[in-house]
Every structure is written in structure tokens, then in C-alpha cells.
């Protein structure tokens, strides 16, 4: 288990960054928050690029900074690599030379240069000038360059923000592949919860420089539903149910893929790409895409019907004028979040512990990656 202990303070222009949190960096940890919430500043502090922080950062039992002891490891000695939002490639060097720049400075190099080139699909671009690359290609080079320093921790600062959807998907897949192959802890900053939902194992949520939640990715996204419900002006996320379910059938012969939810099934349109039986699929369903019925719909074009019990009904505490509630329904042990009007709630007399059916279209089951 790789632990990153943060106890840092930084007086910033618009807010104070104040974080006291230990992170278990197994797999990919997402850092989520609105613009200006302190996400990038946090990464820069871990990398050693924020000179004015006070407090301590301990990574894997090694003190990176402790201002009470006047101790600070220089950024180049931390064995932590940061991939910036804007690639920051060296324009006077080719792709290969940019990568070699990192490889040459790596102490105890274990990775094979050619393997990383292949892993990041840069074989054909190795001799190109970095100035001739597309944004997606530049980020792949930046990622490969960071990997060749063989860091103990990889920090990604919104690496997809300048990319189109196709490049985003490609790079996200690559990040997952890298994490799985190299077993490298990754801290991934993004203001898109959809991106994080697809790749992260856990998530840290920041707001105004403070941690407001940290834990398992699905759990924290579900917590965000309630935060968004009580703070609609924050526009944090679209309320949703975040799922990771095994595939039981990649194609049912009708162009639909089947996921298992214990004894129930969820259908979604067949996805492009190679999938195996029992492979976990990350997907999400927006709360506004699910509706509630009191009896199982028999004659409907909507293919997904799940039986469950209402667990909670939460109304917006700030903005009463929205006339809507967030209903939590537990189906086979899994929480689903449904956004309905107070009119519907009253019409169906919905209350806690009431057995209901959820229904949603196959197309409402979304995946960001495919």
C-alpha cells in the first residue's frame, strides 16, 4: 500500500489551500473539483513546484517537505513526475530526443525505451518534430516522457482538457493500460467526473482548497449527488448512479450488451472494442434518465426494469423552487439515484421502504470510454 500523507497550507490569491488527508494511492486516484478549487496547486505542491507551501508531505515513508524541520526535497529529486495540461515538450528536440531527455536522467533505469515507445503508440512519430504533432500526440509524448523517468508516483494535471473526444478516449485507455502494466500509482486531476469515473479507483473532492470527500470512486460520486442537491449553484456534477458491473453477454443477438446486477440484468447498446465475459464495465446512468413505476412495466419499449426499495428521498435544501427530489432506490444491494418532481412523488405517494421498479432505456447506460 502506497500512502501519501498531506498536511499542507498555502495562502492563495482567492482562497487558502488547507489539506490534511492521507491518501491510499492504489491504482488511480482522481482529484475532482471545480476550476480554482486547488486541484492543480495540490499536484504542484506534491511535485515540489509550489515554493510557498507550509506543512508536510510524506510519500511512502519519505518526507518530501516538512517546513517545521526546514526540510524540502527538490522537485528533481522527488522521483515524482507530473504531466502538465499543456504538454510542455521541448520544442528544440524531436519526439525521440524529448523521451531520451527523461531516460538519460533516470537513475536505475528498468524500463525499455522501445517498449514505452510502443506502449504509448509513438513508434511512427519518434523522429518527428514535436511542433508538428497534434494535441493528442503531444500528450502521449508527455506521458511517455514522464514514464521514462520511472517515477514512484505519476501526477496527471488535466491531461485531456485540450483534446477532442476521440483523442480523449484513446489517452484514457492508454492511462488505464499503463497503470495496469506498470503498477504505477497515479494521481489524476480533472474537472470532469465522467473521465474520473471511467479510470479511477478512488477520488478526492476539493472545494475552495479544502477536502470535502475522499473514498471509493462510486461512493464519492454518489456523495456528490447529495452535495449537488444541497448546493445546486455549485453545478458540481449531473446527478448519477456510478456502476462497475460484470459483462455476462457481450452481444445478446439484438445488438445489446448484458451486465449482471446480482440476479437482475442491465442492458445497454453493444459497445465497440473487445470485451470478455465477466470483464468489469464502468458505466453511469443520469438520475434524470431513470423513472419510477409502482408495478413492473409489461408493455414498454424501455428495456431495463429493476426492482428495488426506496432508501431515501432528499429534497433540495437550498432551492425549494426547483420542486424536485433525489430518490435513492436500492436494487440488489446497489444504490440507484433518481431525480423526479415533487409532483410525481406525491402522485405515486413515494416514501421510504416502498417497493418500486426503476426503468431506463438501454441508451441511458453511458460509458465515457466507448
Amino acid at each position: 500500500m502506497t500512502i501519501l500523507s498531506l498536511n499542507i497550507n498555502l495562502r492563495y490569491k482567492t482562497f487558502d489551500l488547507k489539506i490534511n488527508q492521507a491518501l491510499d494511492l492504489t491504482g488511480i486516484t482522481g482529484v475532482f473539483g471545480r476550476s480554482g478549487s486547488g486541484k492543480s496547486t495540490l499536484l504542484r505542491a506534491i511535485a515540489g513546484l509550489e515554493k510557498k507551501i507550509t506543512g508536510s508531505i510524506v510519500f511512502h515513508e519519505k518526507i518530501l517537505i516538512d517546513t517545521t524541520q526546514n526540510l524540502c526535497v527538490k522537485p528533481e529529486k522527488r522521483n515524482i513526475s507530473l504531466v502538465f495540461q499543456d504538454s510542455r515538450l521541448f520544442g528544440h528536440l524531436t519526439v525521440r530526443d524529448n523521451l531520451k531527455y527523461a531516460a538519460k536522467r533516470c537513475v536505475n533505469s528498468q524500463l525499455n525505451f522501445a517498449d514505452i515507445l510502443t506502449l504509448t503508440e509513438l513508434d511512427d512519430l519518434a523522429d518527428a518534430s514535436v511542433n508538428d504533432l497534434s494535441s493528442g500526440q503531444k500528450q502521449r509524448v508527455a506521458l511517455a516522457r514522464a514514464l521514462l523517468t520511472e517515477p514512484k508516483l505519476l501526477l496527471l494535471d488535466e491531461p485531456l482538457s485540450a483534446l477532442d473526444q476521440v483523442s480523449k478516449t484513446k489517452l484514457l485507455n492508454l492511462i488505464v493500460k499503463i497503470q495496469q502494466q506498470l503498477k504505477l500509482p497515479i494521481l489524476y486531476v480533472s474537472h470532469s467526473v465522467d473521465e474520473l469515473q471511467q479510470v479511477c479507483d478512488s477520488m478526492l473532492i476539493l472545494s475552495q482548497g479544502k477536502v470535502i470527500n475522499y473514498g471509493n470512486i462510486h461512493h464519492t460520486i454518489h456523495q456528490l449527488n447529495f452535495i449537488s442537491n444541497s448546493l445546486p449553484s455549485e453545478h458540481l456534477i449531473h446527478q448519477q448512479t456510478s456502476l462497475s458491473l460484470p459483462i455476462t453477454n457481450t452481444d445478446n443477438g439484438q445488438g445489446l450488451m448484458v451486465l449482471a446486477l446480482v440476479e437482475q440484468e442491465i442492458l445497454l447498446p453493444r459497445l465497440p472494442g473487445e470485451f470478455t465475459h465477466n470483464q468489469q464495465l464502468r458505466c453511469f446512468i443520469l438520475a434524470s434518465d431513470i423513472s419510477i413505476c409502482l408495478s413492473e412495466p409489461q408493455n414498454s419499449t424501455i428495456v431495463n426494469h429493476l426492482s428495488g426499495t426506496i432508501n431515501a428521498i432528499e429534497s433540495s435544501s437550498i432551492d425549494e423552487s426547483t420542486h424536485s427530489v433525489l430518490v435513492t432506490v436500492v436494487c440488489s444491494g446497489q444504490e440507484f439515484f433518481v431525480h423526479i418532481s415533487t409532483y410525481s412523488q406525491l402522485k405515486l405517494a413515494l416514501c421510504i421502504n416502498k417497493p418500486v421498479y426503476l426503468q431506463f432505456k438501454a441508451g441511458a447506460v453511458r460509458t465515457y470510454l466507448y
Partner: protein, 227 residues
Amino acid sequence: MASPDLLALAVTLKMAALTTVILLLIGTPLAWFLAKMTSRFKVIIEAIVALPLVLPPTVLGFYLLIAFSPQHLPGKIWQQATGQQLAFSFSAIVIGSVLYSLPFVVQPLQKAFEQLGDSLLEAGSMLGAGPIDRFFTIVLPLTKTSFITAASLGFAHTVGEFGVILMIGGNIPGETRVLSIALFDHVEAFDYAKAHVLAISLLVGSMILLGCVYLLNLPRRITRKTS
């Protein structure tokens, strides 16, 4: 060119080359310091560095002459260390030239360092490169043309120097008699033919040097325009 003039040319080239090397060694860290400085004292240092641009050379030369005399501390220290007088020596005209040409080297370098910013240096540190490593592998290659511009301007300006040298170096053949002073001597002696040779040589030399500097900056300026 007559042999005293060739001697003056040799002194000039030696002085300008030495001055340029010293200027690059002093000017680079000074320009870096100014580019990264955020304190309000930055403007004061910048004004001091830029002073030779507006100050009459004779004023600078006058104060240096006083400072270099054995009666004053800098001249006294020099004499104790070397056993020779500083004023009216080759060393004096090199020191004077360094001070007089300082803005021609510091300003282009400072501008280049400011334009480069910190982003690529941060990227370098994330790849394990220390400060010296980053300077030679990132800063230097990316600001190469500014270094060439700074060195060329420093060299050309030193070659054309007159007032400061006359004040602190006098006119000692083989020691402090440089081309601009030799030219002045020929004019004073009404030897216009020799004056013409020196004047045209200085003119053409300066033109070629500046032409090379602009040629070097040309591709970058065109690229910027097209982009």
C-alpha cells in the same frame, strides 16, 4: 592599413573579444536574476544596468578614471594585487568597456529569459534535471539566438567605443590605442586617407556583424508572422 593601425586593430579585437566573454559571464546570471526578480528593487537595478545607454561616455570615463587612480580604493587594491597601475592600462579599458556595454548584453538576455518563462524549466525538473542541467539543456538551446545577438551587440559596441577609452586608457600604442582613437588621431593630423581606411573598415565590419545578427533572427521572425 599602416602597421600602427594594425596594432590598434589587434588591441581593439583583443579588447572587444575579452570584453564580450566577460560580459557573457557576468551578464547571463545578472539577466537571469533580473528576469526572475519580483522585488520592487528590480527597477532600480534595471536602471543602473541601462545607465550607459543614456550617460555621456565621458561622464562614465571620468568617474572610472578617478576610481582607477592609485589614490582611490579600486585602483589601490588593483595596484597592490598586480603591482601595476590600473588607469591607462589595457585592463582599465576592458573594465570600462564591460561597464559601458553591459546593457547591450543584459537586456536581450533578460528579455529572452522572461519570454521563456518557467513552464519548460518546471517540465525539466519533473524529468530529473537540476538547475545547471536545465540551463544548458533547455535555456541555452532555446535562447541561442538571443545569446548570439547579445554577444554581437556587445562586441560591436565595444569595437566602436571612444569616449570611455580616451578618458581611462589614453592613447598608448599596443596597450590602449584602439581603432576609434587611431581614427581620431588621423583626423587631427589631417591624414584623411588613413582616416577613411579605418572609418570604412569599422563601418563595413559593423554592417556585416549586424547583418549576420538580423539574418540569424530572420527565420524566427518569419515563423512568428506566419503562425
